[in-house]
Symmetry: C2
Subunit: 450 residues, 2 copies
């Protein structure tokens, strides 16, 4: 039995490891088009900033280490096509530029996603970059070292754009964020996103809203300014395109695999595609939103790992299910820890819920204990029955802890009435006597009872 | 309508505040036998150590502040008796040594708990102390300042004993823990408690196990040594009795209020005692263990707050319920953060469950992100259906976050199969790609499926 996995970052390598544990007799081959395998793409902003001094630290396992577990990792191998009927792949060795055909018994697609490059003039100029892969990071680092940019423009004010704003600030490069929408962080409710907006301004990040990229101008093959919809011309030394990512589905589509309405590969909870013996996992496939029940696409590293584990288990003869996501995510920008789970109030309204919300501002430790920091917690529940719909946490304090409590509460389909009497761990060095989550749930309960 | 509350630390003051919010027209009188009201008893060890420099910082609200909300706080007033039939109390003013009779329409008992003083010779000598109240703290601080002890013996190796071990170490006072049982921290499973034991030893705390206090010897009215069951004589300058606490139920008992089998006041989920219009909340009353369904007594500050809120609401005409506890708790001793929720494996076995457990050791951030620290997570589920029964977390890392995830999972009656696919917040500064809780749940799921 031969399992072939296409893609070797998060989902692919996790699938390989799990498949091997489930069935150690399985022959496993993993094809990866990059030179590196098994690296943490989420670590890229911290290598850029220098918080993580050595780029090799985000490489979790080397191909040789996989080999020891009987997993054959072939880097710089690009899978060109899938022939479902003959159960064969055509693979191109990018080092030698040669092709071969290989058969599979089970196939897992973990082809990931890539940065969207907008179709405007000048995107191919030097000094215009995207940052999704370790190769792109290496190129960006080289560009910075060799050209010493003083100004950078980041197109797109999502998580990556905001993480990169901090990274460039650390490098002493003046940062301008350009966002087509009327605000940053559209997944968050407007007043919560505004807190982050204000914090960026305080840290000297220039933010241009309601203004999309029209084209990029260059001198001697190098980008020197951008033109935006308002007609404004903004000079710069470096441009990062962070308007979003899209799933790598071309191979799947060509091979007859169904693409869902989100644009990513359609899978069931076993991570099976429409074609027998072919699975998909990670940023290339869609999933279910557990709060709304809608089909969604959540390209995040932890979800890729969870899906990879399920796909790997099933491809090796197991019987695992991935029940979907809550869209939980967190990022850090400057001194703020910014986190969300479930639906925003805005999203909940659109989906037909009757959301009510409270926002509380609390310390994350006992007020009198040194080192406590603030968290602003917004908690949202359905007026009908108190069912929790989502949470957002922003602050210098333990947003990660608060959001994980909220995410676990959503997983348990708990109400604000359940959470107002939650028995969370209290001691002055760790929490105020009532956790900010309990205080928020209590306030929400009182509001709903009225 | 007059509401009288007896006791003004955690449950009493919370009940007063909530009752006032529920019914602002209510006349509220709170009697407190100490001079201080509304202080955080859990902060006492940190005032002792000096981490919190000013003892007034743990006083949350002054009587004058309550007055502004229409709550009359009478400090140094001791309620001697309750006459249920006439709905009257006899109250003694400790400052003037005079008595008065006052009627109530609603009554809340929040009389708390006190340190157990063992019935051995010498407990009344100078240099023998307990530490439950801010008055006891003041006396202990005075004793330390005036006698400059070089050695202290702490009798009892529970949470308080361990928190105080660190505090005395900070003060440069050599610490010996004496414990009657064969190990410290009996609520934890033995191998987890051992991790804490080893850490204490590394920090030069002497631990004597399997050895109870027989008597205390003195010179000139001051304690100088203890004799323990093994016959050993241990010299010391100071003795802290931390063998446990017991609920203050004498007033309730005398007034005809039913005491439960735990020795604390029996209440229903509305915090009502057996007598009409009389409620109890906090360390003086019992509650339900939500995992086992058993009646239990959990004298902790956060539970007191939650119960006080429910009692205050109901006494003011509301309709609130306190559904019980999970026994979640956390404490810090030296560099270890030690936390538990739900049942230990040992306790689960005794209660007739078929517990299985895993223990994982993980970083609390991405391995390559600076500042990550280790947590050791033990997770316990029932073999029958995967239902989570409890968790224990020990380490220098984010034990508080891990245990709150586990506690919320218990609240939602989740299984290890639910938790292995939990959607928790991942980004390198906050978590490894899969939270230690997910890794533990995954390992437990694999084990149970075999």
């Amino acid at each position: 039995m031969r399992l072939i996995i296409i893609g070797g970052v998060a989902a692919g390598t996790k699938a390989a490891a799990k498949a091997h544990r489930t069935n150690p007799d399985l022959e496993i081959i993993l094809y990866q088009d990059e030179a590196e395998v098994s690296y943490s793409a989420c670590g890229l902003p911290y290598i850029l900033s220098g918080i993580i001094p050595n780029r090799d630290e985000i490489v979790i396992r080397k191909p040789e280490e996989f080999k020891r577990d009987g997993i054959n990792v072939e880097t710089q191998h690009y899978v060109e096509s899938i022939d479902y009927k003959s159960m064969q792949l055509t693979v191109k060795d990018l080092k030698t530029d040669t092709r071969k055909t290989i058969s599979y018994d089970r196939l897992i697609l973990a082809t990931g996603a890539r940065a969207i490059v907008p179709p405007v003039k000048g995107v191919n100029l030097q000094g215009v970059v995207t940052l999704r892969s370790i190769e792109e990071l290496d190129r960006l680092k080289y560009t910075i070292d060799s050209t010493k940019p003083k100004k950078v423009i980041i197109i797109g004010a999502g998580y990556i754009g905001l993480e990169l704003s901090e990274a460039f600030h650390e490098l002493g490069i003046a940062t301008t964020l350009v966002e087509k929408l009327d605000r940053i962080l559209p997944r968050f409710d407007p007043e919560m996103a505004q807190l982050v907006h204000d914090h960026l301004i305080e840290n000297n990040v220039e933010i241009i809203l309601n203004d999309g990229l029209v084209n990029i101008n260059g001198i001697n093959g190098r980008a020197c300014s951008i033109e935006i919809e308002s007609g404004r011309l903004v000079e710069t030394d470096l441009i990062v395109l962070a308007i979003g990512i899209k799933p790598n589905i071309e191979l799947a589509k060509k091979g007859g695999i169904t693409i869902g309405e989100t644009g990513a590969i359609k899978v069931n909870t076993k991570m099976e595609t429409n074609l027998e013996h072919i699975y998909a996992a990670g940023d290339c496939c869609e999933t279910i939103d557990r709060v709304s029940g809608e089909i969604t696409w959540v390209p995040l590293g932890d979800i890729a790992n969870l899906q990879g584990r399920v796909a790997g288990d099933n491809a090796a003869g197991g019987n695992a299910h991935f029940p979907g996501t809550l869209g939980t995510s967190i990022f850090k920008t400057f001194d703020l820890n910014v986190a969300i789970t479930g639906l925003s109030e805005t999203a909940a309204k659109k989906l037909g819920f009757t959301p009510k919300s409270v926002t509380v501002k609390k310390n994350d430790k006992a007020r009198y204990y040194p080192g406590g920091k603030e968290v602003i917690v917004k908690l949202i529940a359905d007026k009908k029955n108190g069912q929790l719909l989502g949470g957002q946490v922003i602050g210098q304090g333990a947003s990660d802890k608060m959001i994980d409590i909220a995410a676990t509460a959503l997983l348990g389909a708990l109400t604000c009435y359940d959470m107002e009497n939650a028995d969370l761990a209290y001691s002055p060095p760790f929490s105020p006597v009532l956790s900010p989550m309990i205080v928020a749930a209590g306030a929400l309960s009182s509001m709903l009872k009225k």
